[in-house]
Symmetry: C2
Subunit: 476 residues, 2 copies
């Protein structure tokens, strides 16, 4: 049956989560593969999602004084190499430009993998006095990292992101900005994307190359794997020393600036798919949905049905509404709306019209709400708000349900032999233990959460005295 | 005097227009040079301008059904080479990626100079039936072209732009779209940027590599040089044949699609500077100004002055308003506001407050308008609207004044030996004449304007029978 066909084409998430994910990316029309490995085409529906996310985040940034700029895409090798840790971290992943037109270049240029170096080089000449500080710059752009394994949104050789780079007169102010941006990510993910996260600090092993401290928001996907969803870095004076970014302070002393950077990427779309999606396809939180309401006329050839559908659309001012007036069957239209994760479907047929009613169907719960057409505007606002809130609550309940505590080595190992999820366990602070856990179980430290709890006295790996509680998981 | 210093630092445009232009770009805080030739940093003030332009243009695009997407930044050499004319046109300007991480690539990848090839490659698999058409896609991104001579905004190795790429079932529809987008550019430039343009078709010699026809909007800068400010291309079926983009039409026949592309770039910011700027700096049309009103308190340490300034700011709802409450002198603040081209300055001092008045000063005419504080909202709206309108009228008058007709070869040559401007003159249609005129006079054909007039019977270069009236100019 044509009605069922669209749905039948996606693999069940319970059977094969990985294949389900790829199916949704393609069938919900978010992306297409290009002819270069690891490079994808973001199609209109996927890009509209990104535009909505951009606007909401950009407003949050600007409300804290952040300004947008644009920095060169290509970075001379010598400039990239000034800070040793960063280049060592990124060297294996850089795409190199070696010729401009018919001429070979005298120096290789990196396609930016991240722009700390370029911002530092710019700030060096741009800042002289404490009066010039802070500088709170951000850019929206694409970056290239030559990853070996690639998957749509989650890990690709080119991806879209924003990278904020700020410099400050004092350590305290830079540290505060690092936390402020992490909180913006966490708030945006919770309030707009309905994705709960755990905030914490990355271990030395997992932190960003060149950073003094990296903070992260970690989300848990439906299958129990973790996804790093945003990071904020405190650089101290590492880059300002390497790139010589100094300023004359109030006390007339020449000092190095204190620096941060922070970024989120199109990867958040991957998180949205894997946190909210189900076996019928995408489920998009109302705040970021490109289309919020899909009106499907029933028996649309009957007189007055299409007119009423358009009338309802016109009543829904301030919402993103589409009338599906194509000649497909209602069942096919339902499947398509469900696949694309449009939050609400309104069904309107001759009998509804007669009764002055219509049916609202929620994408997240499939709940059907019969409602008078009069007052539809308020009802839709109410249902969308409820859905936005319930989606976060549901995701939070799922995360909590899949978060475990392991007090002993045995508990810890046994857990990961059988299942996924976040596991809280104590750690001695040594890199060797992280490496061993990764090697034995494929599990990484996601973060040292800000909310600490003492589960036992000893490291879950080596048995030596424990220093911190860490969240562990298998991750994307 | 400190007050004068800021202004004294820019070269007079009458003395050295080129140096004036560079001075304005730097002193008005639009850009900074980076450490790679031809790559610039777009600073917050310059980027805010671009964001405003983007939003206004994007709204115009979307109102005609255009959807945004994102295509890969890197293009395999073999893909780029499928359409011979395009690659020949761009080959000397392509930046080539030859290594990914530590591995050399088996095939060179071009950093996109333009994306006809990538869109074509995508459309090939994306479109099957006439029901899938038209596709009206656009992307906002950066492109790289290895130019020899570079100047901020006008010609740089990397620049920001939008590129629209559409495919259609019929030739007529594609031709209509080509004109529609040209009209959007012309309307946007006139209505939002206050820049008048002449619409026309490029000659064979000047058209885009691979296009069947290129249409252009040509603007005239204050110094009398032309600037190509936007182009729209009709490709016919050239790319669809080269890339095999076919569809099954209503008549069940397999056909090639008809294609267009169209783009504008950050170059339009250069046009704005050179059309509206003066010896005090930038003059920004109100519609695209990052700050529309700069409130400068006079004797701001006197009680009540700053409060009144903030009060006026709060009264100006819906406008982009800044109170300059820094400790600089009013004269310095005036210079800065003028340099940055902020449309209106409001001066408010103790005596004004006593009288319940303030002074509005227009950046374009320096007119001072004394006005009651009550009703300031309406007055500002009125003055901004007048300024937007007057700026276009002034630019139009300047363009008309510098547009000449040359009926004879002698007139034509004599004109360009002594002055600049647009010159209308007849042309035989031969490339050789264009080449000779360029060689002898440094003058190029800007376009064959849609509005034709028969000025004489013979070509202004060779004396043979003329076919078309062409607009000629020295250009940026």
């Amino acid at each position: 049956m044509a009605d069922k066909k669209l749905v039948a084409e996606i693999t069940s998430m319970d059977e094969d989560f990985t294949q389900w994910y790829t199916d949704v990316c393609i069938k919900a029309d978010l992306i297409a593969y290009s002819h270069i490995k690891g490079f994808m085409v973001i199609k209109p529906y996927g890009y509209a999602l990104w535009e909505n996310m951009q606007r909401l985040l950009d407003d949050r940034f600007k409300a804290t004084g952040v300004q947008n700029v644009y920095m060169p895409m290509l970075i001379p090798e010598s400039l990239l190499k000034k800070e040793g840790e960063l280049v060592n971290g990124f060297a294996p992943e850089v795409a190199w430009v070696t010729a401009g037109g018919t001429e070979p270049l005298t120096e290789r240029l990196a396609v930016r993998p991240t722009s700390e170096t370029v911002f530092s080089d710019f700030y060096k000449d741009d800042v002289h006095s404490y009066r010039d500080l802070p500088r709170l710059y951000n850019q929206w752009c694409s970056v290239v990292r030559w990853e070996k394994e690639t998957r749509p949104f989650l890990r690709s050789r080119e991806f879209l992101w924003q990278e904020g780079h700020t410099i400050h007169a004092t350590k305290e102010e830079a540290e505060e900005r690092t936390q402020q941006m992490l909180n913006i990510y966490s708030d945006f993910l919770a309030e707009d994307m309905a994705i709960p996260t755990i905030k914490g600090q990355k271990t030395e092993k997992e932190k960003f190359a060149g950073a003094e401290a990296t903070y992260t928001v970690e989300a848990l996907m439906h299958d129990g794997r973790a996804l790093q969803s945003g990071t904020s870095h405190f650089f101290g004076q590492k880059f300002s020393e390497a790139y010589d970014i100094t300023f004359t302070d109030k006390d007339n002393q020449l000092k190095y600036v204190w620096q941060t950077s922070w970024g989120v990427t199109t990867r958040m779309i991957g998180a949205m798919i894997m946190v909210h999606g189900d076996n019928r396809g995408l489920v998009i939180p109302p705040h970021i949905a490109p289309i919020q309401v899909d009106i499907v006329p029933i028996q649309q050839k009957k007189e007055g049905v299409l007119d009423k559908a358009y009338e309802i659309r016109d009543m829904l001012k301030g919402f993103k509404v589409k009338v599906d007036d194509t000649d497909k069957s209602p069942g096919f239209k339902f499947s398509e709306q469900e696949m694309r994760g449009i939050p609400l479907r309104i069904e309107i047929g001759p009998r509804d019209i007669e009764a002055g009613k219509c049916v609202i169907c929620r994408r997240d719960t499939f709940e059907k709400i019969e409602t008078p057409i009069d007052g539809i505007q308020e009802k839709v606002a109410e249902v969308l708000a409820a859905m936005q809130k319930d989606m976060l609550a549901k995701a939070k309940a799922h995360m909590d349900e899949m978060t475990y505590e392991a007090a002993s080595t045995e508990d810890f190992r046994k857990h990961f032999e059988n299942q996924l999820g976040f596991v809280k366990a104590m750690w001695c602070g040594e890199k060797e233990c992280e490496e061993k856990i990764k090697e034995d179980l494929g599990v990484t430290s996601r973060c040292i959460p800000f909310e600490q709890k003492k589960l036992s006295d000893t490291c879950v790996c080596c048995g030596k005295p424990a220093k911190k509680m860490v969240i562990w998981a298998k991750a994307y």
